[in-house]
């Protein structure tokens, strides 16, 4: 190992990430090369001094934690919407209204597992489209065609039959909802995004539990979620409460697919 290599590997060395062999080689070099040894020591002293200086001032987090605790641990009827909420363009959140509008409706009609799936789908939609956590979507027609061929081998014209009216496919990938893989299709109508989650043909029979109650609203994200089951396919539709008729789309899919 030469002096240049030592210099280049220095950040990894200082953060303790050098794999064993390289670290041994670097340490060997440091024993034999005084300038490099001095440089490494100086950098590590600098780090220590910086760390000490910055950690001397510990910020007081009690106010923030108090607010967060009040919002997540309190019973829902005491939970107030936050004063400042960052909205993402593609999800118009309808926080307070939807939350209070739903109080009077009978909740027992919705099975717990369906609620959980609805929540998982809403939250996946939010994370994928607002936080954009995945880079690996299929977008090109030929890649999408290959994806469909793999996940839904017996289904010809699947894409055109699930595409909502006036929308076009933006992208698709496999997403995991509570331990089950779904094909997550994202359709776009102008700026409005609609997610359709479909169980692949190869999914286990237990995953195909038909949906009884189709139309759920996730007030937290301002999203509507609608499950559907047709003779051959099971899925979930997610879209903005104001902009996407998720229930209608699901109803149509349950009869046409």
């Amino acid at each position: 190992m030469n002096c240049d290599t030592v210099y280049n590997l220095l950040p990894l060395h200082l953060s303790g990430e050098l794999p064993g062999e390289e670290r041994a080689a670097l340490e060997l070099h440091l024993r034999e090369c005084a300038p490099c040894a001095a440089m490494v020591r100086a950098e590590s002293d600098l780090d220590n001094a910086l760390r000490t200086a910055m950690l001397e001032e510990t910020p007081d987090v009690s106010a923030v934690l108090g607010c967060v605790h009040a919002r997540i641990a309190a019973p829902w009827w005491k939970r107030l919407p936050r004063l400042t909420v960052v909205r993402a363009a593609s999800v118009a959140a309808v926080l307070a209204l939807a939350m209070f509008a739903s109080i009077a409706l009978p909740r027992l009609y919705v099975h717990q597992s369906e609620r959980n799936m609805a929540l998982a789908a809403a939250s996946d939609h939010y994370q994928d489209l607002v936080l954009q956590r995945h880079p690996d979507w299929e977008r090109k027609p030929e890649d999408v065609a290959r994806f469909l061929q793999t996940q839904f081998p017996q289904r010809k014209n699947l894409l055109s039959s699930i595409t909502p009216e006036g929308a076009a496919l933006e992208k698709v990938r496999l997403c995991n909802l509570r331990g089950t893989e779904y094909a997550h299709f994202v359709f776009k109508t102008g700026d409005v995004e609609t997610s359709i989650f479909l169980l692949p043909t190869s999914a286990s029979p237990e995953a195909h539990t038909p949906y009884q109650a189709a139309h759920l609203r996730n007030a937290e994200y301002g999203l509507d979620v609608a499950g559907f089951s047709s003779a051959g396919l099971t899925g979930i539709v997610v879209g903005g409460h104001d902009s996407v008729p998720a229930g209608q789309i699901a109803d149509r899919l349950s009869t046409t697919l």
Partner: protein
């Protein structure tokens, strides 16, 4: 197939019961001080930093069911905070990649200050990009691989940025010392 139409309550009101809230708090709250330190670094100002941490923790809570138990909760929280911060910057029309020397702090009157005070002043004079990468690597102790993921840049970029940040910090410290000596 007959499909009833039923609205449902805010999702985790029952899906996530009280014990889940306390699990979340025990996993996430210990990282709050670090999050706030980092938020102060990014936002520069206390109220905005606190708001950023609050938004981060609430977002994490909403998505807690997707967090894989046993994986690195701190990295997950810092990633959310970074995303929220950049999203806000975009919404307010500021360009997140604009790293001018925005805080050209006047050198403080060179009275007797502690070494730590000197270090903090030198650090404050770095570019926001350099402060951010040093903060994550040195103060919070994240690995380079984690920082690369957090900032969505290649590891090589993180490494060269870190080296340059350390060099600027050293230069800033020396300038501070020279200014102090010159005024003696």
């Amino acid at each position: 197939m007959g499909l009833g139409k039923v609205s449902f309550f805010p999702a985790h009101e029952s899906a996530m019961a009280e014990d889940c809230a306390s699990e979340f708090e025990s996993v996430a709250f210990p990282h709050a001080a670090g999050l706030l330190r980092y938020a102060l670094r990014l936002a520069g100002e206390k109220t905005r930093a606190e708001d950023l941490v609050q938004e981060t923790l609430l977002l994490a809570w909403r998505n807690f069911h997707q967090f894989e138990r046993g994986t690195n909760c701190r990295a997950w929280l810092f990633r959310i905070l970074t995303n929220v911060h950049y999203k806000r910057l975009r919404q307010s029309g500021q360009h997140p990649e604009l790293h001018v020397e925005e805080q050209e702090h006047a050198l403080a009157a060179p009275e007797k200050v502690s070494a730590s005070q000197e270090m903090r002043e030198a650090f404050a004079r770095l570019t926001s990009e350099h402060r951010q990468v040093l903060h994550l690597a040195v103060i919070e102790g994240f690995e380079i691989r984690e920082i690369a993921e957090l900032l969505q840049v290649p590891q090589g970029t993180v490494m060269s940025r870190l080296s340059r940040a350390r060099a600027s910090l050293r230069t800033a410290l020396q300038a501070r010392t020279m200014a102090a000596e010159g005024n003696l």
